[in-house]
């Protein structure tokens, strides 16, 4: 009995010492949960976002606000049905401090809901769903990318005002992002005197466009606005050209139609006009150094998704610096981010009160394998944040 007592107390004592030692090591690692598509049609986008994020962290020496970053990855498969389960894995099982994600707006909505309920920091590096910085906006939710309205509204105004198009048709997948993009184009187009005669949709992620292309050819509008991304974007642009429509009815697109897809689209995409908050030949020093560093680290050219991942990490750093690494101070985090000016490869931007970037939207034209800027479609355009109560 005397032995057990001594042994038990020895174990207890060593446990105490070890625990004290662990705390004495300094700031704990910051757990960043990356919930992105690592499979399916958006895989390349998920990989680019992660690459951009990691590049920024590496540039800061692997630490943000003095805390090392521990990455936990979950593949969301761009499936809204599994989204709540996946995000709860990060929040409850892995107990992450920050969630970064995702590409698909349907998945992002579920993530925003879960983040709001659990008051976890969420930074959205792509999903443009207007609702994330609209009715679902919150003190702890930020976006480093764009809102669907922001990226498509200027295309509508440019098509009607600059190019004098009177009638247009829109075509996209029937899901939240598609509807928001085409409605924003319609708003801009009709504001400058045009009329959108029909809005065509097909189920996501169906890529059999022939039937709808025939409808477009039959209706003969002045212009067509399309929103597709990833594999669907490649196929649509190629099908549009194969049907001979690119010579008779000009195709305008959200920038995603031609971002990261030009290699595969080849000749079919030449001369296409799109609007986006990024382009391939911006003459900005920050962009040049970013592109060089990215190409060196990943042996790939960066795209808008990589920039958004990079800026997501930047937003995190700005907030973390203000709260000195303590993520529980949500109000101070948000205040610091709202006051900051971000030096991004896309140009400088600030954050709106609904935590969406206020940024320049560039008008781009496809020449060769690049989306070249031909002008600024809208300067420092804020998202209207309809329904946000912040």
């Amino acid at each position: 009995m005397k032995h057990t007592f001594t042994r038990r107390s020895a174990i207890a004592l060593s446990a105490l010492v070890l625990a004290a030692g662990a705390h004495a090591q300094g700031a704990e690692k910051l757990k960043v949960g990356l919930m992105l598509p690592f499979s399916g049609t958006y895989t390349a986008l998920g990989v680019a976002i992660e690459n951009g994020f990691r590049l920024y962290v590496d540039e800061q020496g692997g630490k943000l606000a003095g805390r090392e970053i521990e990455f936990i990855k979950v593949d969301d498969e761009s499936d809204p049905a599994k989204a709540t389960e996946n995000v709860n894995k990060l929040i409850r099982r892995d107990k992450v401090d920050v969630i970064v994600g995702t590409v698909h707006s349907g998945v992002a909505m579920a993530m925003a809901r879960a983040a709001k309920e659990s008051n976890t920091l969420l930074i959205v590096p792509n999903a443009g769903s207007d609702a994330v910085t609209g009715p679902m906006c919150a003190q702890n939710i930020f976006r480093s990318s764009f809102s669907n309205w922001q990226s498509s509204y200027p295309m509508g105004t440019v098509a009607a005002r600059q190019d004098g198009k009177k009638t247009a048709m829109t075509i996209t997948w029937k899901y939240a992002a598609g509807e928001e993009m085409t409605n924003a184009f319609k708003e801009g187009f009709e504001k400058e005197g045009g009329k959108v005669v029909k809005q065509l949709t097909l189920p996501f992620p169906n890529v059999e466009f022939q039937a709808l292309l025939t409808e477009i050819a039959s209706a003969k509008p002045d212009a067509v606005f399309a929103f597709f991304a990833g594999g669907g974007a490649v196929k649509f642009v190629k099908d549009y050209a194969a049907a001979g429509l690119n010579k008779t009815i000009p195709l305008y697109g959200s920038g995603f139609l031609t971002d990261g897809t030009l290699d595969a689209q080849g000749d079919a995409a030449q001369g296409l006009f799109t609007t986006l908050h990024y382009a391939d030949n911006l003459e900005l020093p920050k962009d040049k150094s970013f592109r060089a560093a990215y190409a060196k680290a990943f042996k790939l050219q960066p795209d808008v998704y990589a920039v958004q991942g990079y800026d997501a990490a930047q937003i995190l750093r700005v907030g973390l610096d203000a709260v000195k690494g303590d993520v529980s101070k949500k109000a101070e985090f948000a205040a610091a981010v709202q006051k900051a000016q971000f030096d991004s490869p896309r140009g400088t931007f600030t954050m709106s009160r609904s935590h969406n970037p206020v940024q320049d939207i560039y008008l781009r034209k496809v020449e060769g394998k690049e989306n070249k800027t031909v002008g600024v479609a809208a300067k420092a355009l804020p998202d209207p944040a309809r329904g946000c109560k912040l």
Binding site: S39, G40, T41, T43, A44, V47, K174, L200, T201, L202, P203, P205, N206, V207, E208, Q210, A211, L212, L213, T214, E215, A217, S218, G230, G231, V234, K235, K238, D239, A242, A243, G244, L245, G260, T261, D263, A264, Q265, G266
Partner: protein, 290 residues
């Protein structure tokens, strides 16, 4: 909708249906003859598409040579896969087959990711098929799609001739009706199955190669075709190639005209069709009555 547009939409429907047939014929052969539910069939389609992307530069962009080489390679792959993996599945329950072939899908996707990466790729249309046929002043129809449909028709006829007018075809039809009887008659059922499986894989891969210039090559491209493929096989009747042809054309029409007239419900159109057919004839349009 005016008549010209209607005709073009019919052309779209037939062209889509024929490509589906190519894919579904392989699946119905495997499902019907060997009773194996092969979820990995979509992966073979993907393998074909990626082969078109990878082999095309090796043959200097010569499309026909790439097609032939790819089909041969796919047949070899199918032969080996049957030998090493699928031959163990015949005696198992359908659930086990589903699980194991689903695992095979995951393996193929990972292999694809490791070998070729995750980017979307384009396969160029061969130059002698580039360009389009003007359809009045309405629009142009790409020559390549017409070529694809033509190839599918040729293959459909070839399949019909093999299955109905050759000794091999006789054995296939017998094996579909009564496996044990065939074995009892001294026919090497193992080799028959291996050949049929290799043919099924080759057909799927060929469908992928032909579709590659049209649909582009991207991760998980097998998943969406797989579901439609199963719908076609179920509607047409398991094991019936004629049934697969009729069903694919039906699905092509429902999908095309559904998109035009009922865009809200276009997604469920083909499943409603499948449900309706099954209620009317549970064994499918041309399936054997149980």
């Amino acid at each position: 909708m005016d008549f010209a547009t209607f005709l073009v939409q019919c052309l779209n429907a037939i062209q889509y249906g024929l490509l589906l047939f190519l894919l579904a014929s392989g699946l119905t052969l495997i499902f019907g003859i060997m009773g194996v539910i092969n979820l990995a069939h979509g992966s073979f389609y993907m393998v074909g598409a990626y082969m078109a992307f990878a082999l095309s530069p090796l043959f200097g962009g010569n499309f026909l040579v790439t097609l032939i080489a790819g089909t041969v390679l796919a047949a070899v792959l199918g032969y080996l896969l049957e030998w090493v993996f699928f031959s163990y599945l015949y005696q198992r329950e359908h659930l086990q087959q589903v699980l194991m072939t689903y695992g095979l899908i995951l393996v193929f996707e990972e292999l694809r990711s490791l070998l070729v990466g995750n980017d979307v790729h384009g396969v160029p249309v061969p130059s002698w098929l580039a360009g389009s046929l003007p359809l009045g002043d309405l629009m142009q129809y790409p020559w390549y799609r017409l070529f694809a449909s033509g190839t599918c028709i040729v293959l459909a006829v070839a399949l019909y001739l093999v299955v109905n007018h050759t000794r091999l075809g006789m054995m296939i039809r017998a094996g579909a009706s009564d496996r044990d009887m065939v074995r009892g008659l001294g026919i090497n059922i193992r080799r028959l199955y291996r050949t049929v499986f290799a043919a099924g894989v080759a057909l799927a891969a060929l469908a992928g190669m032909i579709a590659a210039p049209i649909s582009s090559v991207y991760p998980n491209m097998g998943a969406s075709v797989l579901i439609i493929c199963f719908v076609v096989v179920v509607i047409g009747g398991i094991g019936s190639i004629t049934g697969a042809l009729v069903a694919s054309l039906l699905v092509g029409f429902v999908d095309t005209f559904g998109k035009v007239f009922f865009s809200e419900a276009a997604g469920i159109g083909i499943y409603v069709l499948m449900a309706a057919v099954l209620i009317w004839r549970p064994e499918g349009l041309m399936g054997r009555r149980a």
